[in-house]
Symmetry: C2
Subunit: 204 residues, 2 copies
DNA sequence: AAACCGCTAGACAGCTCGGTATAGTGGCTG
DNA sequence: CAGCCACTATACCGAGCTGTCTAGCGGTTT
């Protein structure tokens, strides 16, 4: 019990850390359903029993992955980078699409992990699907905040529309539409302008 | 060989028809990956061997389902209804969202079958995924046509943006966002208006 | 030294999957 | 009547899945 907390900093990484890392890589790149626990354990260089000692079921492992995805992808990458790239709230919102465009061109682009997890769990009450809804809400809350700062008339509605554009263009890009993200950005710009806001310092 | 063509009209439906119908219902409502061939055969009231006599593999059955989906969903329903509902090209485009809204409220709403099929096949060269891209292109061609008739400046780009809105709002609705479709429609209206087109006879 | 602990390795249960093999049945046609 | 044909029923294969069990190893603590 006490041992779990004091993982020494400079070690070759504990079993749990390797499990988390392997699950993150595999579930991100492919999806939760298509990756088996044996694959995760093998990639982590860990015995299967060790994995099941840390996570009592694959569902729990999947939930841990989604939390990690929120931490690394949503918070650190998406949120962090947009805040950094944009000077004004409007520019930050548009920066989302700049990030998406670069991301979607990477060979390991896997579309949205949350969307995949959502669509591959048919039962709406499944814990994974419930968690996904929470993660979508997290992203939404971030968008709502920016929409408020930008001075939109209806931040909740605006954020939802923005999120629809985000999801839609990621899937279109995944389907092979190279310019979907760029063109979705144009719609975003239009949406911003319709609020009477000059998308300050916009790049195109 | 000759027997296949002359299916008598008023019969209790042939084995093949029942297979097609069962596959359509099950693959539509759930997804291709989550439904096994045994389930399809059972639902069709057909022996598994009969199914494999008509379709040599599940992939072939899936491809037949996608073709049927294009025929029934894309052509008959989406395309047919929008043409019927809208007086002008702009109104037809907006009618897509009216259809989506009613559809997304149905208890058996399953999000877009093409999108699901796309996301659950990781290999970009998989025949199912290739076929899905073709079906997305079919919808796009229909949108391009309407965009041309509406007089948009860049019909190809406009159609892509419209499709991004369509996909995005369906997934948002599937995630439980009841008003996602309606708000996506508002973006569509904005997009139309930005082309200098009064969305003639729009209903809101 | 003894107890303990996290971990390993591998077998295994029980299930579902796609796909195959076999034997047999009922009806239409020569 | 005989042959054919689409179809049925059922067993089966090999693979993969989640999850469990066991036996043992190596290092730390008391």
């Amino acid at each position: 019990m006490a041992a779990r907390a004091k993982s020494p900093p400079g070690r070759p990484s504990s079993a749990r850390e390797r499990i988390d890392h392997a699950a993150y890589e595999l579930f991100s790149r492919h999806s939760i359903r298509t990756i088996g626990v044996d694959t995760v354990a093998a990639r982590a260089g860990v015995a299967k029993m060790t994995l099941y000692k840390h996570y009592p079921s694959k569902d729990q492992l999947a939930l841990a992955f989604l939390r990690r995805r929120e931490e690394l992808w949503t918070r650190s990458w998406l949120q962090g980078e947009t805040e950094r790239l944009g000077a004004t709230p409007g520019a930050k919102l548009l920066a989302v699409f700049d990030l998406f465009e670069a991301w979607s061109r990477r060979p390991d682009f896997e579309a949205c992990a949350f969307t995949k997890a959502l669509l591959e769990h048919a039962d709406a009450r499944h814990p994974v699907r419930v968690a996904v809804r929470g993660h979508i809400a997290t992203i939404r809350a971030f968008l709502v905040e920016l929409a408020k700062e930008a001075g939109t008339r209806n931040p909740a509605r605006f954020a939802q529309q923005w999120q629809v554009l985000m999801i839609g263009c990621l899937i279109a890009a995944y389907a092979g539409e190279a310019d979907a993200v760029r063109n979705a950005r144009k719609v975003g710009r239009l949406l911003l302008e319709s609020e009477g806001l000059r998308a300050a310092r916009a790049r195109r």
